[in-house]
């Protein structure tokens, strides 16, 4: 058999392989989606039939009131995470600092904040600070408490991220005559940020849901609204389910953007 005669047969085999791979991928996606639909559908049916049930009337009447809280939830979460990132950066530099006072302050911050419940911290900021003459509105108080809390956890993330950048990078920068601070800012930090982005994203998803705790100081976010209308309309389960669905959708939307950001940041990775 000559090469020319072999060619069509081989092309056929390659086509078959590609087609089979495509079938397998489609089959995988189908099964994947099916599992989600079945389970989420079952939960929906369960809620629909549970207790007094969820009615379309209730969803249409009260839904908008609850969903409107999403704005506050997003506002609180975003501002808090920005505050947390700032604190975490300072905290991480402190934890790595050769300056004893700075280092000790950062360590105390992490230890104290990670060692006490977030709910207590929220109460402390809102009800406690006024005794020190600092009176904050509910929203700034909630943001301050959330930001401080997450800043402590993220301090450890940033510290690990900075330490994960090889020491040789700092040396290479210094060998080019860059002072240590400039080398840190321009060379080490950008690489550390790339390393910690997935962890920050993870924390932000957690933050979206932990922001529900500020409902306890009467910030009118998702959960507060759900509880309020649920109680007055005697539809607690239904309104909580609506709030839960909104939280879930928010995290799905955010996860999508996070994935894109990570892919963009992966440019230039080793």
């Amino acid at each position: 058999m000559t090469a020319a005669e072999l060619q069509p047969a081989r092309a056929q085999v390659l086509d078959d392989i590609i087609a089979a791979q495509r079938r397998r991928r489609r089959w995988f996606r189908g099964q994947f989606a099916l599992v989600w639909v079945v389970i989420v559908g079952s939960i929906g049916v369960f809620l629909w039939n549970a207790g007094r049930g969820i009615s379309w009337d209730f969803i249409l009447q009260s839904g908008p009131f609850i969903v409107n809280g999403a704005g506050i939830t997003i506002l609180v979460s975003v501002v808090s995470i920005v505050l947390a990132i700032g604190l975490a950066l300072l905290g991480a530099i402190g934890r790595l600092s050769a300056n004893a006072i700075f280092n000790s302050l950062a360590s105390l911050y992490v230890s104290l904040v990670r060692g006490t419940p977030l709910l207590v911290q929220i109460y402390f900021v809102y009800f406690g600070l006024p005794f020190a003459g600092i009176i904050l509105d509910a929203i700034p108080a909630g943001i301050l408490a959330l930001g401080f809390n997450y800043g402590a956890y993220m301090t450890e993330i940033f510290r690990a991220g900075i330490q994960a950048v090889p020491r040789s990078q700092l040396e290479a920068a210094q060998a080019l005559g860059m002072p240590e601070r400039l080398a840190f800012r321009r060379i080490v930090l950008p690489q550390a940020v790339r390393i910690v982005i997935p962890a920050i994203g993870n924390d932000f998803v957690a933050m979206i849901k932990d922001s529900a705790l500020v409902s306890t100081i009467a910030i009118q976010e998702l959960l507060w609204r759900a509880q309020r209308i649920g109680r007055s309309e005697h539809q607690v389960l239904a309104s909580l389910a609506i709030a839960a669905a909104v939280y879930w959708i928010l995290t799905i939307i955010f996860s999508y953007f996070q994935e894109r950001l990570e892919r963009r940041m992966a440019r230039g990775d080793r």
């Binding site: 290479a172 920068a173 060998a175 005559g177 002072p179 690489q191 080793r270």
Partner: protein, 267 residues
Amino acid sequence: MTAYPEGQAPPHIGDVIVRAQGIEKYFGENHVLCGVDLDVHRREAVMIIGRSGSGKTTLLRCLNFLTEPTVGSVEIDGVRVEAEPLRARSRAHQEQIRQIRLRASMLFQEFGLFPHMTVLQNCIEAPTRVRGISTDVAVELAHKYLDKVGLLEKKDEYPSRLSGGQKQRVAIARALCMEPKVLLFDEPTSALDPELIGEVLKVMEELAHEGTTMIVVTHEMHFAREAADRVVFMDGGVICEQGPPEAILDSPREDATKRFLRRFLHG
């Protein structure tokens, strides 16, 4: 011990530009450098050889204070810095060290390119932020030196897309963009696949022949023979023997040198 026998210094070399005196280094109890004096002249290519653990890399790192010597002084192009292990982090000392580093650029085994910057950004980062030259001028310089190492067409790539040999050549271009007086090479080909070593050595050889002052720690004996004005053999933290490449590599006087070369050249 003089660098060259009386009247045998290569004619192209100039006055002394690097002078290391009495360099000693302890890592804990471990006496790694036991008093090294080294003079390097303008336009001279000095290759430091020796088995691992002989202190040659530590000596090179002491020259630009990436490793702070325990005792000794380094003078490069008129800037003299005394080892101050107790005040190593003081601002004045760090500034002096920076002045040394601006005159002596170092190249590393692992290249040290910044992975989050393109090749061009790698080359202009330090010139613009440290030397304070404008971006336009820095880009022009970068083009010139990237062209010199044959990688101008890669200027917009990220380092992850380059081969090891290309990375080291970019690192050389980046170092040249600082327009240093001396280049320090720390085993620049040790991390490379064998087939990529040649392209880096070729660039280095060109630089040597153009009269770039360089100090190279290397295991490439063939390269040392071709490109070196002087070969320095280190053993046990001191300079054991030094001289023109033929003298050291072909007819060494010291037993330690003979043993090293025998083991090195014949497995």
